[in-house]
């Protein structure tokens, strides 16, 4: 026991004496949280629209007004010149072109039917879908309005409708920061857990100091614990620190029991530390260790549901996420903090995490040789 304490003391001294490490531990999370939480925003408004109104009738003007007044669209240019509008799309200055053909109003009254054309820049497919969705629903409303006013009907004898009311639960203002901040906390904790621990051991190998440790009476488990515990402590500290900033700066709601988050993080970190340890056992240089760790972490991270929903992935990719520890942590931290999910909801995930931690660490320890 005393041996471990000494080892811990050595490791902590090493961490605290390295200026760069301290900077990474203290400043980077603040900067990341502040900068990135504002950046991760999928909200789509101010869609730039070009209108080619070849009719210029009262109704066509009404429609254009209705579109721009909706708050989703910003009129970029009204023109008769199709080429200008196409050019705007090609240069990304406009996202959508609405073409109102000549005799729009006349056709509508005479033929009971009129055409409109929407051209959407669809390079960003989902944005295009949303833009079109907004435009289509505004046009539908406008259609109903025109119909009622032209036929002098009121709501009771007009055509029947299905009015839809929405509510956005757990995040009424659709605040993206509330969604992103917990996820970014997970990333911070993961980086410390997976990278620093593994690299630390490989560093001893690379510099050659591991041989000195190998000839001491330190036992295998003592050495490993001595290497892992400091980063576990640092990572837990990071989580607390990040949560503090999150609540102070972003007014991050914490609906559920925060102890559950820490409990989960405590177990989760052993998985990540175990992964770092495992990587360190079959690499010789920090470069190798880092690339391997990076390879897995970036896969885990981008496929964790942090940025894009897991549900959108093809089925085989969703199966891969069953083995992705980050996915579980992202899911749990959001469930607890935003929805107030309790022990009975996260229990299963915690058991899975425990199993991961056990497997990962056992393989790593079996693989670790106290030999040069």
């Amino acid at each position: 026991m005393r041996t471990i304490l000494f080892l811990l003391q050595k490791e902590f001294l090493q961490i605290f004496r390295s200026r760069a490490m301290l900077r990474i531990i203290l400043i980077v999370p603040v900067v990341q949280l502040l900068l990135l939480s504002y950046a991760a925003n999928y909200e789509i408004k101010n869609i730039a629209i070009d209108v080619i109104d070849q009719d210029l009738s009262p109704w066509s003007r009404q429609l254009v007004n209705k579109l721009t007044a909706s708050g989703y669209f910003r009129l970029h240019r009204q023109t008769f010149n199709t080429k200008d509008a196409w050019n705007d799309i090609a240069t990304d200055r406009a996202d959508l072109i609405l073409v109102i053909p000549p005799h729009f109003e006349r056709d509508l009254v005479k033929d009971d039917e009129a055409q409109l054309q929407l051209l959407v820049n669809a390079i960003n497919g989902s944005k295009a879908g949303i833009a079109y969705g907004y435009a289509a629903s505004i046009i539908r409303d406008f259609n109903q309005q025109v119909r009622l006013s032209w036929l002098a009907l009121d709501k009771r004898n007009g055509p029947p409708v299905i009015p839809i009311t929405y509510s956005n639960w757990y995040n009424e203002r659709l605040d993206y920061k509330v969604f992103m901040v917990p996820g970014i906390l997970v990333v911070l904790v993961t980086m410390i857990g997976a990278f620093l621990s593994g690299m630390n051991i490989v560093k001893e190998k690379e510099i050659g100091t591991i041989e000195q440790l190998n000839v001491t009476p330190i036992r295998k488990y003592q050495f490993i614990l001595g290497k892992l515990i400091p980063f576990w402590v640092v990572a837990i500290f990071e989580l607390a620190f990040g949560l503090l900033i999150g609540t102070l700066v972003f007014r991050l709601p914490i609906v559920g029991n925060i102890a559950l988050v820490f409990l989960f993080a405590a177990v989760y970190l052993w998985v990540m530390l175990g992964m770092g340890l495992l990587i360190s056992t079959f690499t010789d240089t920090q470069q190798q260790a880092m690339f391997i760790a990076w390879f897995f972490v970036i896969i885990f991270m981008l496929m964790s549901g942090l940025f894009t929903p897991v549900e959108s992935m093809p089925h085989w990719a969703q199966v891969i996420t069953w083995f992705n520890p980050i996915a579980y942590f992202v899911k749990v931290i959001r469930m607890v903090m935003l929805k107030g999910s309790g022990w009975e909801h996260i229990r299963t995930y915690l058991y899975i995490m425990l199993a991961f931690a056990l497997v990962m660490n056992s393989i790593a320890i079996l693989n670790y040789r106290k030999r040069a």
Binding site: S18, A20, I24, V28, Q32, Y38, A39, A40, N41, Y42, I44, I89, D112, E113, Q115, L116, Q117, L118, L119, V120, N121, A122, I123, N124, G125, S126, I130, G133, Y134, A135, A136, I139, R147, W150, L151, R156, N157, P159, P160, V161, I162, Y166, E172, L174, Y176, V187, M191, M199, N200, Q286, Q287, Q288, W294, F295, L302, F307, T308, P309, S312, M335
Partner: protein
């Protein structure tokens, strides 16, 4: 000059003898682009929903059927009463719930209004907005269809054309981003680590006392990586077009030239990182924290720059990745020529020179 080539040869030996790193360098981008190309998408498919249908008549059942038939939604559970809603959301399985009050059909045809309520789990605002949009559109169509039984007057038909990406595949959005991310990280991290490694192992001193000027040392160290990164870029491009069907509408030569330029930018960034850090560990953390997260979040790769608050939108301009993504999309998807992408090209070239300039100023030829 001969000395320089000998030095470059030494670097190549370093790289080729380290089989494991070499394998990682070339294997990694391949695996990643396949995984991410398929898995990173925000297209909604089969989002799980709960249905609280209090009428259970012919018309309400058909409404639910419409939602699931679209492929966007899959019914996860049918609820019996309002109290179950909260629990269903909390268990974390469903993304949206639809509440259809009693007498739906009767209300629609006799009272001319049959309200429906949509509840979305806005814990994930992106998905929530998209789901609500889709559901609204589907219900709108259903309403139209029910009305069609009595031929409406004054119909406005809007036809829509999706330009550049008719199928609205999110691949076109994400593949250029993935290509950029992998290229940037591999190049920047490789160089920063290889240079700091010499520092950490102490071999930098030996190089410094050699007759090679410091500038040549740096250049020689980076040389092999220019080649490797360019090969990587080729592999990534080939996969983007071959597997994900990214078109190359513009000139291939221009595209390759831009790739070389971006590789140079990334490498010079790596050199810069290596001059300000002294150990591999900090160099790596700096590359990770300083490059990876900002590149993912601030380059317009996943999150649109237009939605960011103004100061951040300005900040995105200093991300090399942002400019390269613009170049890639313009050349590949829109068929742009040099006269369309001169600005981003110039920015990347300027950044490269800037990074190199700072690194040369920072590069210490003396020991501490």
């Amino acid at each position: 000059m001969r000395q320089f080539f000998v030095f470059v040869r030494k670097e190549f030996y370093h790289i080729f003898r380290d089989r494991r790193t070499l394998l990682i360098l070339f294997g990694m981008p391949v695996v990643q682009i396949i995984l991410f190309g398929f898995a990173i998408t925000n297209e909604i498919k089969g989002a799980r929903i709960a249905v609280l249908d209090q009428s259970r008549d012919y018309y309400s059942t058909r409404l639910t059927g419409r939602l699931t038939a679209s492929g966007y939604f899959a019914v996860d559970q049918y609820l019996q009463n309002n109290h179950e809603l909260e629990a269903a959301f909390r268990a974390g399985q469903i993304k949206m719930a639809i509440v259809i009050p009693g007498n739906f059909g009767e209300n629609f045809f006799h009272h001319r209004s049959a309200p429906v309520q949509l509840l979305a789990d806005a814990g994930d605002p992106n998905t929530a907005t998209t789901l609500l949009n889709y559901a609204t559109a589907i219900i709108g169509n259903y309403q139209q269809e029910l009305n069609d039984q009595m031929k409406l007057p004054l119909r406005i038909n809007a036809t829509v054309t999706m330009l550049y990406n008719p199928a609205q595949k999110s691949v076109f959005m994400f593949v250029p981003g993935v290509m950029t991310l992998i290229l940037l990280l591999v190049s920047a991290m490789m160089t920063s680590i290889t240079i700091t490694r010499e520092k950490e192992l102490g071999t930098m001193e030996i190089l410094l006392v050699s007759p090679l000027p410091p500038f040549m040392i740096i250049f020689g160290k980076v040389m092999p990586y220019i080649l490797l990164a360019f090969i990587n870029a080729l592999v990534i491009l080939a996969m983007g077009t071959g597997i994900f069907g990214m078109p190359v509408k513009g000139s291939l030569v221009l595209l390759l030239a831009e790739c070389v330029l971006f590789v140079l930018t990334a490498l010079s960034l790596g050199i810069l990182i290596s001059t300000v850090t002294s150990t591999q560990q900090t160099a790596m953390m700096a590359s990770m924290m300083g490059l990876m997260m900002p590149t993912v979040l601030l380059s317009g790769f996943i999150f649109p720059v237009e939605s960011m608050p103004r100061p951040l939108a300005l900040l995105t301009n200093i991300m090399p990745a942002k400019w390269f993504i613009i170049i890639l999309k313009d050349i590949m998807l829109k068929g742009a020529g040099l006269k369309d992408v001169w600005l981003p090209t110039l920015v990347l070239a300027g950044m490269t020179l800037f990074f190199l300039g700072i690194s040369i100023r920072n590069f210490k030829i003396r020991l501490s």
